[in-house]
Each structure stands twice: as C-alpha cells, then as structure tokens.
C-alpha cells in the first residue's frame, strides 16, 4: 500500500538508525527520528533498525508496538488527538470525542477514508485547567466546544 513512499524509506531508516546506534539507549531516539522523518515507523524499517542495534527483529517490534506514540502505518494528513483523561471528561470530553468521530468520519484509532484525518485518544495534554483540550499535529487547543472543534479542524485542513 505504501510502495511509492517507501522506496526512499529504508535508506532513511537505516541511516537514522546508524546515527543512533552508539548513543546509550539510542533505540527510542532512533525510532523518534524515523517517525519524525516518515510520519510512522514502516514495518520494513524494523529489520534495518534491528541490524544496526544488534537486536532481534522481535525486540525492535516489541518496542515499536509497546509505545502508543509510535505508528506502524501512516496517519492522515491531520492527526487529531482528543484528550480522554479525567479533567477533560469533567468538562465534556466524552461528548466531544463522539462529535469528533462524526465530524472526521472515522472512529478512534482510525483514519478517514479520504486519508485526511486520523483520530487518536490522548491521556492528558497538560491543559487540565482549560479543558477539554485537543491537539492537531502537535498544535494544542483548549476550551473546545463542538462548534470550535469544527472551526479549528477546518482551519487546520486549509493550512495543511
């Protein structure tokens, strides 16, 4: 499915891994580097990383799949994170998440059919006194109402 984007991928992944292999505990920084460069950690990068770090593929896969932050498939152009933690729940986060599913046309952990949006839950953006909060591609927004959600998503879509 991602053949075209991945032709350059393995080379990038291998060079990022090589740059981190002598850093103490460098596996996470390497995986962050790959995800920052490619938007996700492609499954075919796993053996290349494993080779650089002298680990088994299972060990690297285990790390990638353990952490919520790492993705094994590309996200939509806009990654929309809705906080589900208690402080946001106290201010209507559950209803906001339902609204987000409808507006974006995808469920939680899903990507919309047009590849525009991915929706992820997040447990705390540290904006608990200004809840509920969301983040779109790392940009944070607070005191979100459904109407404001639509406005911000539309603005981000036009800017992206």
């Amino acid at each position: 499915m991602t053949e075209t984007t991945d032709t350059a991928g393995p080379g990038i992944a291998a060079s990022i891994a090589a740059a981190h292999k002598d850093v103490p505990g460098g596996l996470l920084p390497a995986l962050h580097g790959i995800q920052d460069a490619q938007g996700y950690v492609p499954p075919d990068a796993v053996p290349l990383v494993a080779e650089q770090f002298n680990l088994s593929r299972a060990e690297v896969h285990g790390v990638v799949s353990y952490y919520h932050h790492f993705r094994s498939a590309p996200a939509g152009r806009l990654l929309v994170q809705v906080c589900r933690a208690e402080a946001c729940k106290a201010m209507g986060a559950d209803a906001l998440l339902q609204h987000a599913e409808q507006r974006l046309g995808c469920g939680v952990h899903g990507t919309s059919a047009d590849g525009q949006y991915s929706l992820e839950p997040v447990f705390c953006l540290g904006l608990c006194a200004s809840s509920p909060s969301i983040a779109i591609n790392d940009e944070v927004h607070a005191r979100i109402t459904p109407a404001l959600f639509d406005e911000i998503v539309e603005e981000a879509r036009q800017a992206s």
Binding site: G26, L28, E86, A90, L127
Partner: protein, 518 residues
C-alpha cells in the same frame, strides 16, 4: 520610549491563541508607530485569564485578560501601553487576589521572566543556589536537602536527601541524575509549566544534584505529548551551556555536568521510575522489581538519583536561602510548598502554590471559585488518575501527605480534578480500571488481568447482574491489586475505584458501603 509587553508562551496560553495575540500586538504597534518590545514569558498560572497580556508601566506590570486577537485594536485605543482603563484591565498583576494569596517559592519567577534568558533568570535569584553549592562539599549540599525536609514531589513522597545520600556514598565509574518529567497524571501541569515557564530552574536543580552526588550526566525524560516543553528545555540548556552553567568546568569550578533531553513515547507507566529507566535504556518501559534500588543500580546499571521535576526545581531555592527557610513552610512532615493544580470543572482553574496544610475547600472555593458549570461540586479526585475521589466530608482535612494517607487518599503530585453533580461515579470507577488496562506494562498479573476483570465486574454491578456478589468480588479484586501489584499502576488503581464505591454507593445502585472506607 519602548514599552515592554508580555505575552505568555506557555502551552495553555498558546492553546487559546496567544501567538495570534502577540502577532496582532506587533502589527498594531507597527501600524501606529508605537515602539513595543514583546517578551514571551511563562504563564502566571491563572488559566481562565489566558491570554494574560501584561504591560510594564512605571507603577508595575498591569494585566489585561483574557485577551483574544480581536481585542487588540481596542486595547491600543484605550492606551493599554500606558496601563489605560479597559474592560479587560485587571490592575497590577501582583495585586490579583488569586496570585497575591499564594506562597510562591518554587514558582516565584513563573510568568515573570523570559524562560530561556539566562540574564533574566540571574536577575531573579537564578543560579544563586548553584553558586552556593559550588562552594560547599558534596556531603554538605546533601545535608541541606535533608534538613529542608524536601520529599519527592512525584507522588511517593520519599525524602529526596536520602536518595542523594545513597548515590553520593555509592562507588561507581559513572553516576546519573534522571529527571522524571513523564507527568502523565490528568489534572497535573506543574511540570509542564516549569519546563515551559522556568526551565533554567530545573537545569540548576539538576546541576546541583550532580555536584552533590558526583554525577556528571543527567537525563530529562519528557512526555512526547509536551512538544513545547521539549523545545523550551533544549533552548534553555543551550543557553545555560553557553553561559558556563552547564558542561565542562562549570563557572571555572572544575566540576562538569551535561544534560540530555529524551523524548518519551506515550506510555503512562514510564512515570514509574524503573519503567522510565528501561525506556531510557531503549527498551519497552516495563517495571523492574526492587531491590536493587535505582540509587544503587539505576540507569545503565549505575547509581542514579531519580527525582520528579518539582523536586529538582525546589532545590535551587533551598541552597540559595538555606534549609531553614524552606522548612519553615508546611505542616508535620510535609515541609515546604506544593504547586497545587486546580483542574476539571472549576471556574478559576490554575496553579496555586501554597505551603502544605491548607484545605481542599479553600482551594475549591477561595481560589477556584466553585465549579465552572455553576452546579454543586460532587467529587474531587486528588493526586492523579490513581488518586482517591474525595467527598465533601473530607474537604476540610489539611493537605499533607500523612493526613490524606490516613483516610485512604493521596496528595500525590498535587493535581486536583473537580467533578460536578452530573458525574456518574460508577463510570469514573470503570474508567480508572479501563485506563489501567490500557496502560499496564503487563509484567504482573494483578494489574494486567485485574484491570480487565475490574471493568467487567463494574459493568455487571451497574447492569445489576448479581449485584451484591459482584460488589464483594470487586472489593476482593481491589484487595489483590492493592497488595499484589509490582508497582503503583496496579497498586493504586483501586484508590479511585474503592473511594467511588464507598462514598457514592448510590451511583452503583447499592445503598450503603458494606465496609469502612478503604
């Protein structure tokens, strides 16, 4: 004459449009040919007033808020650069009651200075603690921290000086200082504010810890959900290095200390210190059994001090002003201050730094102004997602570690999440179990399996399937998790669950608690 205008760069200000406000002020000043210098300060922590714009006047800093972009032309028309009258004028910032009533020791510079400016930091007592530490023997620095009574602000409240002492006494080729900045608890944001609003204070605290224990390397493990904090920290570290407060031969003392920021990857359990170490070493963040203690065998097997952000950030002042100054604040064995974080359904949410010993009721009403919805407050979760729900009957207890422990609650990191009377406590209890199931590292059975079974049992209770038996089963399950889990993840998940069922039984469809409060 150029007027200095402050527009916060804290995430909570950015999240309500602070960047737009700053750009609009710059554009408007240019159009009106008024010379303005915009400083991007940290937040004062009065979040309902963000974006809080301050103007430097001869009388002091005058605050305007909450400002949105559209307000800016009107502010200029009202001569806000001269402190002019306007509907958003809040008077002198320091005189705002919410701020004035606080005891800001650790957060004294918060929102006052440019977070990444070494000169600004030094002009506000910054690096005085490090300078003092450089003149002391390591054991004397550790003694200061011990005497101050400082306990870990991450939740476990272990005396910081004892950890330091253990690492100082350990013989090894390399020691480390690790800052646990994996602040994942809902309702907490004081670490984020510190890293974004006064990062040099953390840098200084870690450098002091390094000098005190002989560690020459430090790691700050920061949540991936905090990109602004990571960027600000890196900027501050670069500036501190350049000014000679970090790196080789700090201020010509012959001591070295290097700091590295590591980005986490979204696993809540990595806030547990041994899971954090595993993650720093490049593995899945799975909890280690203790012993060995990290102070003896920590990062890369070497002696390691692991402290939370606020713990380390409290150290510079202790060194600068002395242990007695700090110890003077607080009650019982809870010494000093805690930055309490008022969050959730609260009218005036924000950061309140006070000495231990004030009550939840004071925080909720004197500072918070009651619920945001205007409805009665029903339950308050103190100490994060693994903290107990505190009912109104306990709102007059003094906030100190021992008094809370005595009623089965925790002060934790000082996070306070308010729920109004529309909250369904059975659903919040279910959520606590669900959260544990999602975030469990999986190493121990009580946490891994118990949390999933917990969700199922609560569902049976709320749908009235063998309710009396299921309530007994839930209590047994909680007992197993409390006593059988390897770390606080499984070990504390029963706190919100049991407190919900004990104090709000009607939400579970049962009449009265069949046991004393957990």
């Amino acid at each position: 004459m150029t007027t200095t205008v402050y527009v916060p760069r804290d995430s909570a200000a950015l999240a309500v449009g602070a960047d737009r406000v700053a750009r609009q002020i710059a554009a408007e000043a240019l159009a009106r040919n008024l010379p303005v210098r915009i400083v991007r300060n940290g937040s004062r922590g009065l979040f309902w007033l963000e974006t809080l714009v301050e103007v430097q006047t001869p009388q002091g800093r005058v605050a305007y808020g909450p400002v949105v972009r559209a307000d800016v032309p009107g502010l200029f028309d009202a001569d806000f650069l001269g402190g002019g009258a306007h509907a958003l004028n809040l008077g002198l910032t320091e005189e705002i009651a919410y701020l004035k009533k606080q005891e800001r020791l650790t957060f004294a510079r918060m929102g006052v200075t440019d977070p990444v400016s070494v000169a600004d930091y030094e002009a506000h007592e910054g690096f005085a603690g490090l300078r003092r530490a450089l003149a002391l023997a390591p054991a004397d620095i550790v003694q200061q921290v011990l005497d101050s009574g400082l306990r870990g602000r991450g939740g476990a409240a272990f005396p910081a000086g004892i950890k330091w002492k253990t690492v100082l006494a350990a013989q090894a080729r390399q020691e480390y200082i690790v800052c646990n900045a994996d602040e994942g608890d809902s309702g907490t944001f004081s670490d984020r504010m510190t890293m974004e609003g006064d990062p040099l204070m953390l840098v200084e605290g870690m450098a002091i810890a390094g000098i005190a224990t002989g560690a020459t390397e430090g790691y700050i493990y920061v949540r991936s959900e905090y990109p602004h904090a990571i960027a600000t920290l890196n900027e501050a570290i670069g500036n501190a290095e350049q000014a000679g407060f970090l790196g080789d031969d700090i201020l010509g003392s012959g001591r070295s200390f290097r700091l590295i920021v590591r980005k986490a990857a979204g696993a809540y359990v990595c806030g547990e210190e041994t899971a954090l170490l595993e993650s720093l070493e490049g593995r899945r963040g799975i909890v280690r059994a203790k012993p060995p203690l990290p102070a003896l065998q920590g990062l890369f097997g070497q002696p390691t001090v692991i402290n939370n952000v606020i713990t380390l950030a409290s150290v510079p002042l202790i060194l600068a002003r002395g242990a007695d100054f700090y110890k003077h604040y607080g009650v019982g064995r809870s010494r000093g201050t805690l930055p309490f974080q008022l969050a959730g359904n609260i009218r005036h949410g924000g950061l309140v730094e006070k000495a231990f010993g004030l009550t939840l009721r004071e925080l909720l009403y004197d500072f918070g102004g009651g619920s945001a919805s205007g409805r009665p407050i029903k339950a308050v979760q103190v100490g994060g997602p693994l903290g107990a729900y505190v009912p109104e009957s306990q709102w007059d207890l003094p906030l100190d570690y021992e008094a809370y422990a005595a009623v089965g609650a925790v002060v934790g990191h000082g996070g306070i999440v308010v729920h109004d009377d529309t909250a369904d406590m059975s659903q919040l209890a279910r959520y606590a179990m669900e959260f544990c199931a999602i975030e469990s590292c999986g190493k121990c059975t009580p946490c891994r399996i118990g949390s999933t079974r917990g969700v199922e049992v609560i569902d049976k209770i709320t749908s009235n399937q063998n309710r009396p038996q299921q309530v007994i089963l839930l209590r047994d399950l909680c007992d197993t998790m409390l006593h059988g889990s390897l770390c606080a993840m499984g070990g504390m998940t029963p706190y919100p669950v049991l407190s919900a069922i004990n104090h709000y039984p009607e939400d579970f469809g049962i009449e009265a608690p069949d046991r004393a409060a957990a």
